[in-house]
C-alpha cells in the first residue's frame, strides 16, 4: 500500500491543504470498500489491542474503584489522589517504562514480550486501569447513601451490595470504558515504543499514520485518520444511545405532564 505510488510520484507535486483532506476522504472510502488487506489487518489489530486493553483494564479497575469507594480505611484520601493522578499518565512515559522492563536486557526480558501485540495491550491497559478505577470511585461515591442502606436492609452480603451499587452506577462505568477505549485507540507513543510498528504484527492505525506522514504520504495518512475517527465515533455513538435509554423516562417527564418526583 502506498509504496508503488511513492515510486511514481517521486515527491513532486503537493496538494493544497484542503485538497488533501478531501482526497483523504475519498481514499478512506476506497480503502474500506476495496478491503485492502493491509488496512484491514491494521484496523483489526488496533481494535484488538485497544479493545482488550479496555476490557482488562476495566475488569481490574472497576472492582478496585468499587472497593476504594465503598470502604473507609486509613489513607483513603491518598489512594484516591494517587488514582486520580495516574489517570493522567503520559502514554509515552508508560511506553518507556515498559520498554525498559521488557527489553532483553531488562528484568522482564525473559518473557520476550517486546515488540509483540501483548506488550501493546499491557501498556494500554496500564493507562485504562486508573481511568476505570477513578471514574468508578466518583460514580459510586455519588450514589445516594440511602441506596446502600436499602441494599443492606434487604439482606445483601458485601459482594451482593457491591454488585447492586455497581449496577446502579452503570452509566458512569460505561462512560469510563468508552473514554478509556477512546484514549487507547488514539494512543501512539506507548505502542510505538513497545510494539515497534512492525508490519503485519504490531502496526496499528496510529503508528501507521506516523509512518505515512514520515513518508510524506499525507493523503493515505488522512485516510487512516478518518477510519480511526469513525471507529471512535461508532463506540461513542453506542454509549450515547445507552445513556439516552436510561434517561428516556426523565425526558418523558419533562416533556409530558407527568407529575415530577420530589425525592
Amino acid at each position: 500500500m502506498g509504496k508503488a505510488e511513492v515510486e511514481k510520484k517521486g515527491g513532486a507535486n503537493h496538494l493544497a491543504g484542503w485538497e488533501e483532506v478531501f482526497y483523504g476522504l475519498v481514499k478512506a472510502v476506497e480503502l474500506i470498500f476495496s478491503g485492502d488487506p493491509d488496512v484491514v489487518q491494521i484496523t483489526i489489530l488496533s481494535l484488538r489491542v485497544s479493545g482488550l486493553a479496555t476490557l482488562i483494564g476495566g475488569a481490574l479497575g472497576i472492582p478496585l474503584g468499587a472497593l476504594v469507594a465503598l470502604r473507609t480505611f486509613r489513607g483513603k484520601t491518598l489512594v484516591v489522589s494517587v488514582i486520580n493522578t495516574l489517570m493522567g499518565l503520559p502514554p509515552v512515559l508508560v511506553g518507556l517504562v515498559y520498554y525498559i522492563l521488557l527489553s532483553s536486557t531488562g528484568p522482564l526480558g525473559f518473557l520476550r514480550l517486546l515488540y509483540t501485540p501483548e506488550a501493546m495491550i499491557l501498556a494500554q491497559l496500564t493507562m485504562v486501569l486508573p481511568i476505570a478505577a477513578g471514574v468508578t470511585i466518583s460514580s459510586v461515591s455519588t450514589i445516594d447513601p440511602k441506596l446502600r442502606e436499602v441494599a443492606v436492609s434487604l439482606g445483601a452480603n458485601p459482594l451482593q451490595e457491591t454488585a447492586i451499587l455497581l449496577w446502579e452506577a452503570r452509566v458512569g462505568l460505561l462512560t469510563a470504558l468508552v473514554v478509556g477505549f477512546g484514549a487507547a485507540i488514539s494512543e501512539v507513543g506507548a505502542i510505538m515504543i513497545v510494539g515497534g510498528n512492525l508490519l503485519g504484527y504490531t502496526r496499528a492505525l496510529t503508528t501507521a499514520i506516523v509512518l505515512l506522514t514520515n513518508q510524506g504520504e499525507f493523503v493515505e495518512a488522512i485516510a487512516l485518520g478518518i477510519i480511526l475517527l469513525t471507529l471512535a465515533f461508532l463506540v461513542n455513538a453506542i454509549l450515547t444511545l445507552l445513556q439516552m435509554r436510561s434517561r428516556s423516562s426523565l425526558f418523558a417527564q419533562i416533556y409530558t405532564r407527568e407529575p415530577r418526583l420530589k425525592w
Partner: protein, 238 residues
C-alpha cells in the same frame, strides 16, 4: 414465641430504651423530629449496633456475627421515608430482595406480581422508576418490603411526603397486611392522627428517651406524663 425487643441503653441518640414489641401488633413510635425515631428503627432492623444493651428478635440475641445478623435481617422488611429506589424498572426493584436470597425466576415473578397487586400497582411492573409519582414510588418501596414476607415490618415516616389519598392507601395496605398475614408492624410517625388510626399501642419518644408506652386509647386520652400531654395537644415540646 413472642417478638420481644429489650433495649437497655443505646446510642447517644437514644438513652435507656426498654421496649417490648408484641407479636402481631401495630406499634407507633411518635415524637418530634430528631427525637431518635429513625435511629431506633435502624437498630431494630439491625442496621446499627447498640453501644450498650441488647436487642432480642424472636427470643434470639442479635449480638452475633454479621453473617447471622444478615439472616435475621431477612425476616424483617423496612420502608424508609424516601422511597430510595434503584434506577431500573419497578419489577427489578421489588424483585431485588428475592434475587438476593436466590429465589428461582418463576417464583420471583409470581411473588412480585402478587406484591404489586397488593399495594394497588398491578401492571406497573415494566415502568421505569423515574416515571413514577411520589405516592406510586413509596408504594413500590412498600411492595419491595412485603414481597419478602417478613415477620416484622418497620416503617419510618412512610407517608410523610404524600398527599392524603396516598396516605390512606398506604395505611390501608399496612392494616391489611397486619390483619391478614399477622405481620408485626412498627411505624415511626409524627402524624398523630395516623398513629391513632393505625396502631394498637403507642410509644412516645422524646430526646432519645422513651417517655411513655401504652395502649393507643390510654395514651391519647389519659397520658401519664405531662410532656406526652403537651405533645399530643400539639404544643411544641422542649
Amino acid at each position: 414465641m413472642v417478638n420481644v425487643y429489650k433495649l437497655f441503653g443505646g446510642r447517644q441518640v437514644l438513652k435507656n430504651i426498654c421496649l417490648d414489641v408484641r407479636r402481631g401488633e401495630i406499634l407507633s413510635i411518635i415524637g418530634p423530629s430528631g427525637a431518635g425515631k429513625t435511629t431506633l428503627l435502624k437498630l431494630m432492623d439491625l442496621l446499627l449496633h447498640p453501644d450498650r444493651g441488647k436487642i432480642f428478635f424472636d427470643g434470639v440475641d442479635t449480638d452475633v456475627d454479621e453473617k447471622r445478623r444478615r439472616l435475621l435481617r431477612r425476616e424483617m422488611g423496612m420502608v424508609f421515608q424516601h422511597p430510595a429506589l434503584f434506577d431500573t424498572t419497578v419489577f427489578n426493584n421489588v424483585a431485588l430482595g428475592l434475587r438476593i436470597r436466590g429465589y428461582p425466576a418463576e417464583e420471583i415473578r409470581k411473588r412480585v406480581e402478587g406484591a404489586l397487586s397488593y399495594v394497588g400497582l398491578r401492571g406497573f411492573a415494566k415502568r421505569k422508576v423515574l416515571s413514577l409519582s411520589a405516592g406510586e414510588a413509596q408504594r413500590v418501596s412498600l411492595a419491595r418490603a412485603l414481597v419478602l414476607e417478613p415477620k416484622l415490618l418497620l416503617l419510618d415516616e412512610p407517608t410523610a411526603n404524600l398527599d392524603p389519598a396516598n396516605v390512606l392507601q398506604i395505611e390501608e395496605t399496612v392494616r391489611r397486611v397486619n390483619l391478614e398475614k399477622g405481620v408485626t408492624v412498627v411505624i415511626a410517625t409524627h402524624n398523630l392522627l395516623q398513629a391513632k388510626r393505625l396502631s394498637h399501642r403507642v410509644a412516645f419518644l422524646w430526646m432519645g428517651e422513651l417517655v411513655e408506652v401504652g395502649e393507643t386509647r390510654e395514651v391519647f386520652e389519659n397520658p401519664r406524663s405531662e410532656r406526652t400531654a403537651l405533645y399530643l395537644s400539639g404544643k411544641v415540646v422542649y
